[in-house]
Symmetry: C2
Subunit: 293 residues, 2 copies
């Protein structure tokens, strides 16, 4: 039995290696990208380059979008004809990070034309995309998830976390944890440094215990060696914090740690010229707050 | 060559299994405990039970204390005669969790009589004590650490993090990370739950990524299953937060996340009757703050 056809719309830093891993897994892959030159390298690997997103989506069993935000997804679906081009039975999988409310809206509008929809944002960055080890947080109907699962497994580890929008909600929860954990690792590093302990030895001492995390080891090292080349940009972390607090407000929830980190990432980005620092740049905000350079 | 003699003062929940592991490693062990009955089971395992802390300390190469706080350590050293009873060349190792300033004070006073001193608090709880896998954060002279290292390795993984007091500072940094991480895991669990995602699936989805930690998996599960039987008591976490903020103030540091968690653990303990809940009980404080039961 031949494998189902997968279309990937958006072959940037994340989408290109994800499409590559679908090819590696034996799927026929159709691709389109707004800047066509970013899709071209995939042609040499066996992908079919398409002239428009609607054309790319028209002959697919699964249509994946990996673009910048909810507006870009809606533009593809409802302005550029992807929604109408998909055949009945196609599963639409948005792997972009967008707002939960936007994901629910897309799912509702596509349901009217009989297209099943998953929101399936990822965590793991370009390294995870290349290694096919992305954490994939999926929201949508169980049946659509079951059909899409083998396709998603070519790119990482998919887990269904609930109905439409739940994948995006999980991504926000992920980003909330990352932000406050970076924030408290910064406090631990500064406390150690100012109190006369060796921060590198501290990280080693805490390895494997309750305080240990990838963030303690990786972001903690960035803080004490002064390496704030992104990784993940603080401006993006601020956008994520705004989305977290917007969703919390919609649900009537007060999230006090995330609220503090939103304010402090805003201060880092807007007052301390830190938009292009790595997320771990919150250490610079903490030092500035303490009048330490 | 026969192994050096190790005295353990304080054979409670932590000290007893630590003494047992020293016996397992072949050290002659002398023990004393304020309530003598807690030391007795170790007699059957080969430990020598002593009538007073001074007697226990008098014939030892290493004297370990594992008691409740800095006052209890100072009482043993300077009121009950342990400081005077130790022979020159003995290394004193305080493995209790006390304030960094207290540890520095003890080290200075013992230095006057030629006794080398390490502050070496631990993380890992009774499970880590029993399995001899404690994280041991040591402060003090390198030479004393080198001599004590084999003894400490019978109980866990020792890392020297700096001079006298640095071990206690590292323990505070450890507790600061634990508190805020528990706090933000509570926010992630509540956001998922209220937004319609499955918190157990969320924990699974985040496994192995940047947001993952022992706390996400263990304390996160406690929150969603409603199991707040301690583990670690919130009253102790509040004491730790007070010590963190006291040390930060001494160093002139503002630590905004730890400051928030100090206030919220105080609210949990003093206003919400949560002293005896597990640390993860901060989830109850977050729900109360959001008028959710």
């Amino acid at each position: 039995m031949s494998k189902p056809v997968v279309t990937v719309l958006g072959t940037g830093l994340m989408g290109a290696p994800m499409a590559q891993n679908l090819l590696n897994a034996g799927y026929p892959v159709r691709v389109w990208n707004r800047s066509a030159d970013k899709a071209l390298p995939l042609a040499g690997k066996g992908a079919e380059i398409c002239a428009s997103p609607a054309e790319a989506a028209s002959k697919a069993d699964f249509v994946i979008t990996m673009v910048s935000d909810g507006k870009a997804v809606a533009d593809l679906l409802f302005q550029q004809g992807v929604g109408d081009a998909m055949r009945p039975g196609t599963v639409f999988i948005d792997m972009s990070s967008i707002k939960p409310a936007e994901a629910r809206d897309h799912a509702e509008r596509l349901a009217e034309t009989g297209i099943a929809c998953l929101d399936a944002p990822v965590s793991g960055g370009t390294k995870g995309a290349e290694a096919a080890t992305l954490a994939i947080m999926a929201g949508g109907e169980q049946e659509a998830f079951n059909r899409a699962k083998p396709v998603l497994e070519a790119m990482g580890r998919p887990v269904r976390v609930g109905p439409a929008g739940a994948g995006q909600l999980a991504k926000l929860a992920n980003q909330a944890i990352v932000a406050s954990t970076i924030g408290v690792v910064a406090e631990a590093m500064l406390l150690a440094e100012q109190g006369g302990a060796n921060p590198a030895a501290l990280r080693d001492a805490l390895r494997g215990g309750f305080a240990d995390s990838i963030i303690l080891q990786q972001h903690g090292e960035r803080m004490t060696t002064g390496n704030f080349v992104p990784g993940g940009r603080s401006a993006i972390q601020l956008k994520d914090m705004d989305n977290i607090l917007e969703e919390a407000a919609r649900l009537g929830l007060e999230l006090p740690l995330s609220g503090q980190m939103q304010q402090r990432y805003r201060r880092l980005v807007e007052e301390l010229d830190g938009a292009d620092t790595d997320h771990s740049g919150i250490y610079l905000e903490l030092k500035d707050r303490n009048r330490l350079s």
